[in-house]
Symmetry: C2
């Protein structure tokens, strides 16, 4: 369920780093040919194992990036919001995605042919620097994730994810787009225990939960729980 549309970068509602770099060069501007594609909730934006054909940039909406594990159990690595690159980790010579991305709500993404991206990072130092910077951050956060998932107990992991979501929404109160099951996949906890933890933290007045609306009441305590693990 997609709607494709060719677009002109100069008219784009959400101009990205790439435009920022190529805007002064007419030859590049003419070569980009980006496409805007709209995905509905639960649509697959890219699938683990498929070849990387485009650089993908989130223009609007929210998506989950996850790796498919054993027995249909997934691990969500990040929630993607506008200004995030999807293809980032796979730009570099790895021909296939090693993760999947699925829309959590209606998403508009911008797709640029990977050959163009490659030419850009071949020729353009600034682009390369930006990409590398983002890449480095990604890897650092994955490393952190390994520690978190492995060495913290469920309360610590759960606290981590709440803080992550709060930071993502830039607000202590936020609407949880994820289902309980998906929230579980974000912190590697079973769905049932997520439910129990939500109730537990609510009881302890650390958070408030009204259906999908979550409010962090005691951020300090939450950080402490996350650290102690």
């Amino acid at each position: 369920m997609k709607i494709n549309k060719e677009i002109n970068c100069t008219e784009c509602e959400n101009q990205c780093d790439i435009f920022d770099i190529i805007k002064t060069q007419n030859d590049l501007l003419n070569k980009v040919k980006p496409i805007h594609v709209t995905f509905k909730k639960n649509d697959i934006i890219c699938k683990q194992g498929n070849t990387v054909t485009h650089g993908i940039y989130i223009v609007s909406g929210t998506a989950k990036l996850y790796i498919e594990g054993l027995n249909n159990r997934n691990i969500i690595l990040y929630i993607l919001k506008p200004h995030n690159y999807v293809g980032l980790l796979s730009f570099f010579e790895t021909p296939r995605y090693f993760y999947s991305v699925v829309a959590l709500e209606q998403c508009k993404v911008c797709m640029v042919d990977v050959q163009f991206i490659k030419q850009l990072y071949r020729d353009n130092h600034l682009f390369l620097c930006r990409l590398n910077e983002a890449f480095g951050k990604s890897v650092a956060s994955i490393m952190q994730k390994i520690i978190t998932l492995n060495q913290k107990n469920i309360r610590g992991r759960f606290a981590d994810s709440l803080l992550y979501l709060s930071q993502l929404n830039k607000n202590l109160s936020f609407n949880l787009i994820l289902t309980r099951k998906e929230l579980g996949e974000l912190c590697a906890i079973s769905e049932e225990n997520i439910v129990r933890l939500l109730a537990e933290f609510k009881n302890e007045k650390i958070i408030d939960v009204q259906k999908k609306q979550i409010t962090i009441l005691d951020e300090t305590l939450l950080r402490k729980i996350s650290e102690v693990g």
Copy 2:
């Protein structure tokens, strides 16, 4: 406990990718100024949190690359052998190491000033490609590690590590440089359970264990255990 020595690439016993790239350009060859440094067993080659000052390449010996977790519990991500870059994951604008590297046996490494490396990837497309390729592989293997550590039981994780070590040594029989504790850090298992698993697998005739010498007797079964998780 280090011995530093300036070296000339053309005389190096273990010429690396970088030399491969710069050997035809005299201006670069004159600018490299690599240093060979020898580390003894248990010496710290680089420390999590320190700023990245050099590109580091393993010339001889073996080292462990690990992230320092909570309560002094570490997770070993890779065992490094000659031809591996140490600094790889931190080249890209991340100013600090987010992992540590420690020698498992006497190690000789080649250190090149990070400014030279940066200049090289700024100017040299081939170098960039090689680096990115290696980078991509690293990330893919870390992703795999997340799945493994999170979704496999200890028998599966243990089998994984045995296969990894066998592949690393290019032999079904190999001398385990790691202590039981370190082997535990490689697959996120407690030292005690490592001991039990070694005995268990030996009993089941999957492997043979003589002190530090480990021999895989039934590779097929080991792979099955690793897959089933």
